[in-house]
């Protein structure tokens, strides 16, 4: 079982006086894959935005534990946090409109070693280094035309996930990774998540409304409502919990 990756203390964020996230104490990444569920507006995406510092928290602290060290990431910027190994996929489709699928993946794999204004001849070196890894993903997910742009919403969504995986994160936050994907692609993403977490030092936190997916992959699930983490436990526990049933799934499902 992996060690914990993140520890949140008194993390708070409000928008216009309304508390959107108010997490007293939360440990994440102690399992390979953890789920985060909750009704719409519970603050799930905001919580991810706070961890990755896409949004600034009003107060609170976030600690990160790569290889047993403790790093306070409360005041680090989005790009610093990503370089430390905490990466997120996006719920709302994000893309680089002028980059082709392959370019987009090369961007992700490229490192500061290549990204210097005077290194204008390093493209072939980067391509050679990256080729094998990119091919692996392109073979796994079939893109219509890898040299062209991602056309459908589904392709863009997959591209977003692959870009993140190429960064080899230690802690990956996936916000609705399968939303809008067809069934076969959803299964591919699911299998890849399991494979990656079992083979590499990577933990995943997945936010999804697709509860079948959550029950299937998660070893631990957090339930969030009105900005608070109400309960954290193994999937069976969460499924049986009365509060969760009432707040989220409706009585009949329980």
């Amino acid at each position: 079982m992996p060690e914990k990756k993140l520890h949140l203390k008194n993390v708070m964020k409000s928008f216009g006086g309304k508390k959107v996230v108010d997490v007293k104490d939360l440990t994440l990444g102690s399992h390979s894959i953890e789920g985060l569920i909750g009704p719409n507006g519970a603050g799930k995406t905001t919580l991810i935005n706070l961890i990755t510092h896409k949004l600034k928290m009003d107060r609170g602290q976030v600690f990160y534990y790569p290889n047993g060290r403790e790093v306070d990431i409360s005041n680090k910027s989005l790009d610093e946090i990503a370089r430390l190994g905490i990466v997120r996929t996006n719920q709302i489709i994000q893309d680089f409109q002028s980059l082709s699928i392959k370019d987009s993946l090369l961007l992700s794999l490229s490192t500061p070693k290549y990204e210097k204004f005077y290194k204008i001849f390093s493209e072939s070196e980067l391509e050679k280094e990256a080729e094998e890894e990119i091919e692996k993903y392109l073979d796994y997910f079939h893109f219509e035309n890898p040299e062209g742009h991602a056309l459908s919403a589904g392709e863009k969504k997959l591209l977003d996930i692959i870009r993140c995986l190429l960064l080899k994160p230690k802690f990956l936050l996936m916000d609705e990774p399968t939303g809008g994907l067809p069934q076969d692609q959803t299964e591919k993403v699911r299998d890849l998540m399991k494979k990656k977490t079992s083979e590499e030092d990577m933990s995943i936190l997945i936010v999804a409304h697709d509860l079948d997916l959550i029950w299937d992959v998660s070893e631990s699930v957090c339930f969030m409502a009105e900005g608070k983490i109400l309960i954290q436990g193994c999937p069976e526990e969460i499924r049986k919990n009365k509060t969760v049933a009432k707040k989220y799934m409706g009585e009949s499902d329980a």
Binding site: N90, F96, S110, E115, F117, K119
Partner: protein
């Protein structure tokens, strides 16, 4: 022949090349990275005057003055960029425009340094080849401009160029992939602005006589219009745009078109009207300029296969 190599034609061609370089640098800043630099004339003028002051007031050697102009413009760009580059586009536009105005006023008012409106004096060529000096200098400008175009071409298909394009497309997403976007924008803005200063210093020898009037906002607008006309996303967009605007309108028509003397005073005004009309037509029918956006990937693929 000597007349051709020393006179107005060489001056015109040198001037056109300087503007090709400026438009290409704007392509790098705006077309590639998305930095809305409306203070081109500021960096250009700063380079020109630092060079002029260093050469004429302090008698530093030509090369030293050239380096000093480039480096100082870069330092100023670094300081300005540090403050403004994480603002939104409108704010960057206004700030750079204001910067250019500041440069012009300093040049006009600090008479002890620049001799103000009287002009700084005559800037010589870096070498004396008699009648061929102007031609020699033209060749130097041609070489550095070609070097700049080659750099731009290679940068467009390099990891760094890809990073800059990603910043323009979606800066937050680039950051979430771990790219330090602000730092890279700042570095690139500094370098390209320093180069604008470098071409300003070269322009001092082309102009011969430096007066503050050279530094009007018209320079910035001309470069912008040229790049937008030619195609801001394209490496040769600046080149095509400058040829169409300054080349055809400023030089060929003003010099060679048989315009009756009575109408000659109208030409400069007509020129701006034609600029405006062309710009409007281009923006309506080809929003991305004459060259458009699409890199003809098919042709590139065929070339690669050969």
């Amino acid at each position: 022949m000597v007349e051709l190599l020393s006179g107005y034609v060489m001056y015109s061609l040198s001037y056109i090349l300087i503007f090709v370089a400026l438009a290409t640098l704007l392509h790098l800043q705006f077309g590639l990275t998305g930095i809305v630099n409306f203070g081109i004339v500021g960096f250009w003028g700063l380079g020109m005057y630092v060079f002029g002051v260093s050469l004429l007031q302090y008698n530093f050697p030509y090369i030293v003055s050239l380096i000093l102009a480039t480096v100082l413009t870069g330092v100023v760009a670094l300081a300005l960029g540090r403050v403004i580059l994480d603002l939104d586009n409108q704010a960057i536009l206004v700030a750079t425009l204001a910067f250019a105005t500041v440069v012009r006023y300093i040049v006009t008012t600090e008479k002890w340094l620049t001799r103000g409106v009287l002009g700084l004096g005559t800037v010589p060529f870096p070498f004396d080849l008699g009648q061929y000096s102007q031609f020699g200098f033209f060749l130097i400008i041609l070489l550095v401009t070609i070097a700049l175009l080659l750099y731009t071409y290679k940068l467009g298909s390099s990891p760094y160029g890809r990073l800059l394009a990603s910043i323009q497309d979606n800066e937050i997403l680039a950051q979430s992939l771990g790219k330090p976007t602000f730092r890279e924008k700042l570095i690139f803005f500094t370098i390209t602005s320093a180069l604008i200063g470098f071409f300003g210093a070269l322009n001092a020898s082309v102009e011969h006589f430096l007066i503050p009037h050279v530094l009007t906002t018209g320079v910035t607008f001309t470069v912008w219009i040229a790049l937008i006309l030619g195609g801001r996303k394209r490496i040769l967009g600046g080149l095509i745009g400058v040829i169409v605007t300054i080349g055809v309108l400023d030089f060929i028509i003003e010099t060679y078109a048989p315009i009756p003397t009575a109408y000659a005073p109208l030409v400069p005004n007509l020129k701006y009207m034609i600029y405006g009309l062309t710009l409007m037509l281009i923006l309506i029918f080809r929003p991305l300029g004459i060259l458009g956006e699409k890199k003809s990937t098919k042709i590139l693929k065929v070339i690669r296969k050969l």
